[in-house]
Each structure stands twice: as C-alpha cells, then as structure tokens.
C-alpha cells in the first residue's frame, strides 16, 4: 500500500515536470529584446525582425523558429549594409586584372568613415591578392568571391551581426526572458509538485526498506522492469538521454524548467539560473535522495554508509554550493575537487585568464588544481587506490553510487568488454592529454595550429564528443542499459590515469580469504565496473585491476566473507594466497 502511494507520488511529480514546458508560453516585447542584447543597434535590428511575434503568446517551438528566422534576417540586413557591393567587386576585379591592386588602391577605394570597417577588413583578408597578375576578370572575380565570403563570416557576422555563438546565447536568454507561465509565477509551488513529489516518493520507498531486516537486498533485481533492461529501464534511459541532449545542445527549449530553480539561484549566487544550475541542482538532489536510499539499504555496512555520506557531502558542498558562493563573492566559479583531465577545460585560455585575473585566490586555485592533478592524485592513489576519488569524492562517481546503484548489475563482465574498455579509456586519456598540450601550446605561443591541427577545433571536438556526449549523454543515459559506470569505465581520463597507478604502484587491493570462495558469482554480478571478481577469488588471487573503484559492494554481497578491500604493503600484492592450486 505505502509502496503504491509512494510510486504514485513519483509518477505524479514526474508528469508535472513533463507538463511544465506545455503549460508555459513566451511573450516577447521590445523590452525583452533590449534586455538580452547589450548592443542597442543590434537589439533594435533584431527587434525589427521579430515584429511578427511581438506581444503574442507563443510556444517555445514557435519562438525558436521565429527567432532563427529573425536572426538570419538580421544577418542579411547587416550583410546587405556592410558587405562588399557589386560595384566595389567589379572595381576590385578591374584593378586586379590590371595588376594594380595594392594597399594604396584599397585605401582609396574605401574612403571615409562609413567604409572604415571594410577598409580594415579587406586589408586583413584580401592583402594576399596584392600585386598579383590575373589573366581575366573571371579569374579575379573567383578569388574575390572567396575573400568576400571570409569577410562576411569572420568579420561582419561576428563583429556586427550574429554569429553562431551569439545566436545560441540569444536564443537561450530570450527564451528565458520572455517566459511566462506557472514556473515563473509560482516556481516554489511547481517545484514542490514536481521535484518535491518525486523526492517524497523516493524517500518514502527507501524508508520502506527500514521495515525489512538488515542485510543484502537484491531480491528481484533481475525481475524488476527498471533494473533488468525491461520496459521501465528503457523509459528511464530514454528520458535521461533526451534530457542530456537538450541540456547540452538545445538548452533554449528548457527555460521553463530552469525557471523553477531561479529563486534558489538568486539566493545562492545573486542572479538567475542557467541550464547548468538546474543540472547541478537535479544532480545534487539525486545524489542526496538516492544516497539516503543507499545508506538505508546498506545500514549494516559501515563502509558503505561512510562512503555514501562522503559523496553526498562533496557533491552538495564542493560541487554545488561552494562554486555558487564564490560567484556571489565575485570570485571565479571553481570546484575544488574537480581534477584535470576529468576537468578537461582547466587549462583552456579563458579559464587560465579568469584565474589569473582574480588575483591571489585565482592563483591559489590554479596552483591547487595543478598540484592535485600532478602530486595529489598519484600520492593518494598510491596509498588508498583510486577509490579515494572515484567512490568517495567524485561527482560522476557520486551519482553512479547513489542514483546508479540500482543498475550496477547491468555492467558487462565478458573478456571482450574488458578489451574494449582498455582500448576506449586509454584513447580518451590520450586525446585529453594531446588536446591539453595543444591548448597550452596555443596559450603560450599564440599559434592556433600544431602540426596542422587547429587547437580550438580540437578542444571543441573534445568538449562536444567526450565532455557532453560521452560523460553526459552516454555516461548517465546508459545507466539502465550498461550499468552505472559507463563513463567511469570506458571514458573517464582521470580514472584511466589513476588506474595505471593503481595497477602498478599502489597499496590497494581486494584480498581473497584463503579457500573460502564458492564461485557463486555475486561479486562479479554486482561489480559496477564489470570486473570478473570471481575469476580472481576462486583462484585465491588478490583483485588488482586498473578499473576497480573500490566501492566495496563485492565484499558486501559475498555470502562467505571472502573479499576484503585493503591498503597494505605493496611488495607481495600479486602473490596468490596458496589455498587454491
């Protein structure tokens, strides 16, 4: 009965959450446009292109369609005004065929204040045409078209009009600024009816575990529709995947959800929420609520309890609240426990510049981050194994160990999965290192290409493919299909880095208790990293694997007391205990 009520609460809250975008609408006024665009000239131009939606209540889909059209139209107007005219083009090509194109000629062609922009632009983008001979007007026109194109897309659009970054940002901020509906008028009520009900239901279901006696609670795990790749798992996975895709690539469609957390954002950092504030909020709530469930489920196991409290603490303070407070204090947004290369943009120019510009605290953050990555990580991993981070501190690990716990048994234990894992995770590590070296090279030398590769596009590809696609969409969205550690196992470059240390130079291992193993397979089944723990235990060997995150669940589910996580002398860790031949 209580289980049904709680389930109903979760479903109700979930549907309220899903309904929010449909109950919301947008109302664009000239003021909203002026509010989100700083440059009054640009604002007025875009405003003129959005006349057809001014003052009417429209859906976010209509808004985005019209906005895309409006921005394109605005760009057209800008180009029409500033781009090379046919007249200018024909004069230029005449000069070129006569072999008379030079700086002087360009200066005299673009005279006056109104032509200053094109004078400079052409000097930058067209100077390679100077003093060259062109056989015909046609040949000249051809190369000129190229120059015109470059000036349009690299000078006029970004500087005077709306390039793709500006478009993306306007789409998001205008969507938020023009939002109307229940989440704007009563965010707290809707918050309660969506997140609130889900939280209550989830806590309620977790509390029901208290009525059961202490011990391992895996009954029906392989029959439940959510945890055995059946229909509910498919629904949950699909929702998560869509949510992550919208979050990373189309945040302009989720402004009605973001509005829910605006009050909290105001409270913490003094300004409205962005999509990553909403994400941080949902993430933290998930870790906390499902952390409570984890603690109740393993209330007989102090290792699990303390470890879970640790990830809940680090997520709430270090990852969520502290960075927001730093922003409020006009300090750089900084998560003190996020470590390169997981924190792949740590060495990006804008990040470094931001830290350097923030005075002493910024310098401290920079030194802290570098020291943690280069000294802290190897040292801690030597003493405790990578678990000190992966299952005690890390945010990705924190989510995996709480929200992801019900899915841990879905990891693939086959040898071929292990081979794939090695290929994949070390490739990502190599990519992260090469990308960072490239970015730093550009930072120090100013040259944007290394060996013919543009470091800006390299970091952009890494961000989209690994940072958003792998870590987010696949990493979490695949929980119900491939277990809760997809990212940590196959992708995380920091896990790869620590794994190498753990495998070759660490005091950490999982010890096998003599000959007590009965090969039942609980340990392997519940290993979220897909380690075939049993294959070691039934040979009396210690489990020493690069991927082990030390969650301790194998030792918890073992019915014969065979497994024990330990930090101990590192000289004989590979020696079998001798009880099993």
């Amino acid at each position: 009965m209580m289980h049904r009520i709680n389930t109903a609460l979760i479903i109700a809250g979930y549907f309220v959450f899903l309904a929010v975008p449909f109950l919301s609408y947008h109302l664009v006024t000239p003021n909203t446009v002026y509010d989100v665009i700083d440059n009054p000239e640009q604002a007025s131009l875009l405003e003129s292109k959005l006349r057809n939606i001014m003052g009417s209540e429209i859906s976010s889909f209509t808004l985005q369609t019209k906005l895309t059209e409006g921005l394109d139209a605005a760009n057209q107007s800008i180009l029409a005004k500033y781009s090379l005219t046919d007249d200018q083009l024909s004069q230029l090509s005449a000069l070129m065929t006569a072999n008379h194109l030079n700086q002087q000629a360009v200066d005299s062609l673009f005279i006056g204040e109104e032509n200053e922009f094109m004078r400079n632009a052409f000097s930058n983008y067209g100077n390679w045409l100077y003093d060259k001979a062109y056989a015909s007007r046609d040949a000249a026109t051809k190369v000129l078209a190229e120059v015109k194109n470059n000036i349009d897309s690299y000078e006029i659009e970004p500087k005077l009009g709306f390039d793709r970054y500006k478009k993306k940002s306007i789409k998001f901020s205008l969507s938020k600024a023009s939002l109307k509906g229940p989440t704007v008028s009563s965010p707290l009520l809707i918050m309660f009816l969506s997140f609130g009900l889900v939280i209550l239901g989830a806590l309620g279901i977790s509390a029901l575990l208290l009525k059961e006696p202490v011990g391992i609670k895996n009954n029906d795990v392989f029959r439940h529709p959510a945890t055995s790749r059946k229909w509910l798992g498919v629904i949950i996975g699909t929702f998560l995947i869509i949510f992550y895709i919208v979050l990373y690539f189309y945040p302009e469609y989720m402004s009605s959800w973001i509005a829910l957390v605006d009050p909290l954002s105001m409270l913490l950092n003094g300004s409205g929420a962005g999509q990553f504030f909403l994400y941080g909020f949902l993430y933290t709530i998930s870790v906390l609520v499902m952390g409570v469930r984890m603690i109740i489920k393993y209330r007989h196991n102090r290792y699990q309890i303390i470890r879970t409290i640790s990830v809940m603490f680090f997520q709430t303070t270090f990852a969520f609240i502290l960075p927001e407070i730093l922003v409020r204090l006009n300090q750089p947004y900084y998560d003190f426990k996020n470590i390169w290369p997981l924190d792949y943009d740590f060495f990006f120019d804008f990040e470094l510049n931001k830290l350097i510009a923030s005075g002493q605290i910024g310098i401290f953050m920079m030194v802290w981050g570098i020291a943690l990555a280069l000294v802290g990580v190897p040292l801690f991993t030597y003493f405790f194994g990578k678990r000190w981070y992966c299952s005690w501190v890390c945010g990705c690990g924190g989510l995996a160990e709480t929200l992801g716990d019900p899915f841990r048994q879905l990891s693939d234990k086959s040898l071929s999965a292990w081979k794939f894992e090695q290929g994949s995770i070390y490739t990502v590590l190599a990519f992260a290192v090469v990308m960072t070296i490239g970015v730093l090279y550009t930072y120090f030398t100013g040259a944007s290409t290394v060996l013919g590769i543009n470091t800006y596009s390299m970091r952009e590809v890494y961000g989209a493919l690994i940072g958003a696609g792998f870590a987010g969409v696949v990493g979490t969205g695949f929980y119900p299909f491939m277990g809760n550690r997809v990212w940590c196992r196959f992708g995380c470059p920091l896990a790869a880095y620590m794994g190498i240390i753990q495998r070759f130079k660490s005091k950490f291992r999982i010890t096998t208790n003599g000959g007590q193993c009965i090969s039942c397979g609980n340990c392997s089944t519940y290993c979220e990293m897909g380690i075939d723990v049993r294959s070691y235990a039934q040979k009396g060997e210690n489990i020493i694997r690069a991927s082990c995150v030390g969650c301790g669940v194998c030792a918890a589910v073992c019915p014969r007391g065979v497994l024990k996580l330990e930090n101990s002398a590192d000289d004989n860790r590979f020696t079998p205990n001798g009880f099993i031949k």
Partner: protein, 420 residues
C-alpha cells in the same frame, strides 16, 4: 597422450579437468546430463531470488572450454564397464577412456514416507530441481520445509523472498546442533525466527496429505500445517546408482584410497561421491562440500598427470550463510562437550556476532567458529597448524579480523570478556 573422461561437471570434475589441462595435453571429455556448461550449484538460490540470472552462475565464459580443448558432452551415463575401459550413454553412444574420473556428486536423501510423489513436493539439488521449484511455487502461499540443514535454510530463504509463509520442521531441538555448539545453534535459531520463519524444532513429519498436490503435512505432535509446497531437505547421499553391477567397490560412496583411486586402477572418484577408506585425522570419510570437491579435483589431476601424491585436504574449514548471518569454521569445533577440549566463547550483546576458540587442556588452539563476523582463513589455519595458544590468539585478534574496513572492531570486546 591418453583420453581422460570425467563424469560430472560440478566443482570436483571441472577442477580436475582444468588442472589436467594445465599439466598435460591429454584428451579431456567431461560428461554431464545436468547442463552443458559448469555452473556454481551453491548459487542456484540466488537465481530463484532474482539476485542473478543463470548465466551469472557460470564461472567461465563459453569460449573457455574450446580454448582449453576440454570437450563437453551433454548426456547421461547409463553404464560403466571397467573391464572394457568404456561407458555407455543413454543415447546408446559408447565412450572409451584411458582414465575415468567419477565426479557424480550427490542426490537428495529420499524420505521414507508416503506422499513424496505428490505434486508440489520436491528436494533441491540440481538445476532441474530449481526449474521444478520455479514451476511448483507460482501460486504458493504456504510452504513447509523439512530438515534443518544448509539447503533447508536456503530453501526457506528462497520461498520467503517471494512472500511465501514458510514453516520449517526440524528434527533437532535446536537448529543444526548436529554441527553447531549450543550457543551458535541458539543464535542461528533466533536469527531464522527473526527473519519470519515459523520454526518447529524437535518435530518430524508423520504424514504428507493431498489429492494430486500436497495440501498439508501432519507432525508427530498431531498438528496440521497446510501447505501447497513441501521441500524435503534432509541431507544428501552419494549419487552412485550408475555403478550398480559395475564391479567398482562402493559403501555409502565410492571407496577410494588416499590417491583417490577406486578399486579399479584406471578409475578415480572425487567430490561428494568419494568415500575415503582411511580419512586423514580430523576429516570424515564423506565430505559433501564444495571445498573438498575442489581439493580432490586438484589432487586427482596431479595424480594422473604427475607423480602420485596423497590427497591431503589439510585443516578443515567451511562456511555458510543463514539468511543474513554469516558463519565460518576452522579446525575442530565439536558440537557438544568433548573430553580434553574446552572453548572460549564470546557473543556480542549489541549485535549478532560471536566467536569461539576451541583449545585443548594445554590451551593450544584446535578450532574456531564465527558468526556475524569474518575471520581470515590464512590466519586461522596458521594458528591451528602452528599450535598457537588461546592467549596468543586473543592478543592477536586484529590479525584474524577479516571484516570489511570501517566495521566496528570486535577485538577489544572479546579480549575484555576473557579477562572479566
């Protein structure tokens, strides 16, 4: 190169096959009618409870057998002909061997009472038993389990996990006290009751009643317990019926010498079905446990591939889990007072944890028991083998503690209770 045929793909037979492969390039054929691939019998309960799927109980992936050139034959052996070095399968196929290893395992001990043929009455040993139990319990509300052994507890836990009301009928006055000393037996008894099992101690079943399907059982005190499922778990016996008329010498099990050789020189027997003619000190002739099967498998492989070596199982150890209560034992721990042996017992007042150290009159350690806490096999074995004293053990409990990290330590409490 000779052809080694192994009947039985349980832990004993498979361990033998793996080790023969490690040590030789003999042709290896493993025959089983139960399943094509090796699985862990001890994990059957977890499939029923939904903790695992059958595939998770298979310790090796399917490619393993091809890669290691171990041929698997799914078939039922109907006849063994030692004089011709060959055996017959149900299919009519004849398989010849140079060496034969019998790893036939056990079968449930039959109950000499009417009504066991009714639908809904069964034992639990094989994969097929589990499948039958799955079918037998779809509509069951009440179940009775007869027998107070490890499989009985497993069956009770399995049924209980599906919301079935379980009554256990146990002949002994306290649970498993044919093995456990009184205090441990009390604790396990309390634990089983606390998990919601209706435990009838000191009772036997007189009558099984029902039309086609079991409907109720009548106990020796006349009480009637309605049930739609009846589990019979009164122990196991060696599964040796195929040896009838084979000429191979048997008693309760297949008689083997200290090299695990049967009365026939090319035939060995290992695991549950092997009965040692002269068991080593502290060990029994029949030991139907996982670990003995595994050690015999190692030994027989060595005897076939290398120089013959006596089977030496070493110091006895075993473990079990009663619902959520873990149990481990090492060495000699008698279930009742025994001349020349004394023991130190500690039980936690706050939680279900206990430890027993058995010693002789010279205070030399001979055995250890634990409930609700984990002991290091390596350390227990060394202490008993080296004849460490009780005082030494109590002063070095931190070495023997195998509980997970951050668990509440028991060493101080145990030590304090000794000095008190």
């Amino acid at each position: 190169m000779s052809r080694i045929v192994i009947i039985g793909n349980g832990i004993a037979g498979i361990t033998a096959a793996r080790h023969i492969r490690k040590d030789s390039d003999h042709e290896i054929i493993v025959i089983s009618s139960e399943s094509k691939y090796f699985f862990s019998r001890t994990a059957l309960m977890y499939i029923y409870m939904g903790h695992m799927k059958f595939e998770h109980t298979q310790p090796y992936e399917d490619w393993f057998w091809r890669k290691n050139k171990i041929e698997l034959v799914q078939g039922h052996v109907t006849k063994i002909l030692p004089n011709n070095n060959q055996l017959e399968l149900q299919s009519g196929d004849i398989i010849k061997y140079d060496k034969l290893i019998l790893a036939l395992g056990s079968k449930p001990r039959p109950m000499p009472i009417d009504g066991t043929q009714l639908a809904g009455v069964q034992s639990l040993y094989s994969k097929q038993d589990l499948e039958l139990m799955e079918d037998n319990t779809t509509e069951v509300k009440e179940a009775v389990v007869i027998g107070g052994g490890l499989i009985g507890v497993e069956m009770a836990e399995m049924l209980h996990s599906r919301g079935v009301h379980v009554t256990m009928v146990v002949r002994e006055n306290n649970f498993w006290n044919i093995v456990l000393p009184e205090e441990e037996s009390f604790m396990v008894t309390r634990h089983i009751i606390s998990r919601g099992i209706d435990l009838k101690l000191g009772r036997t079943v007189e009558k099984i009643a029902g039309k086609n399907r079991v409907e109720q059982v009548v106990l020796d005190d006349g009480s009637i317990i309605p049930c739609q499922f009846l589990g019979i778990t009164i122990g196991v016996v060696p599964n040796i019926s195929v040896l009838q008329d084979s000429g191979i010498e048997v008693n309760r099990g297949i008689l083997v010498d200290e090299y695990l050789q049967t009365s026939h020189k090319d035939i060995y027997a290992i695991g549950d079905n092997a009965e040692l003619r002269n068991p080593p000190a502290g060990r029994r002739a029949l030991e139907p446990v996982w670990y003995a099967g595994r050690m015999m498998g190692e030994a027989v492989a060595n005897n076939i591939c290398n120089k013959a070596r006596v089977y030496e199982p070493g110091i006895w150890f075993n473990s079990a889990k009663f619902f959520d209560l873990e149990y481990q034992t090492y060495g000699t721990v008698p279930n009742a007072p025994q001349e020349g042996l004394e023991s130190f017992y500690w039980e936690d007042q706050k939680s279900e944890r206990a430890i027993r150290l058995v010693h002789n009159t010279e205070k030399v350690l001979v055995g250890m028991n634990s409930l609700g806490l984990r002991l290091s096999h390596e350390v227990c074995e060394a202490w008993i083998r080296e004849g460490k004293t009780l005082d030494y053990a109590l002063a070095h409990l931190d070495q023997v503690n195998f509980d997970p990290e951050l668990y509440r330590k028991f060493e101080k409490d145990v030590y304090a209770s000794k000095t008190r």
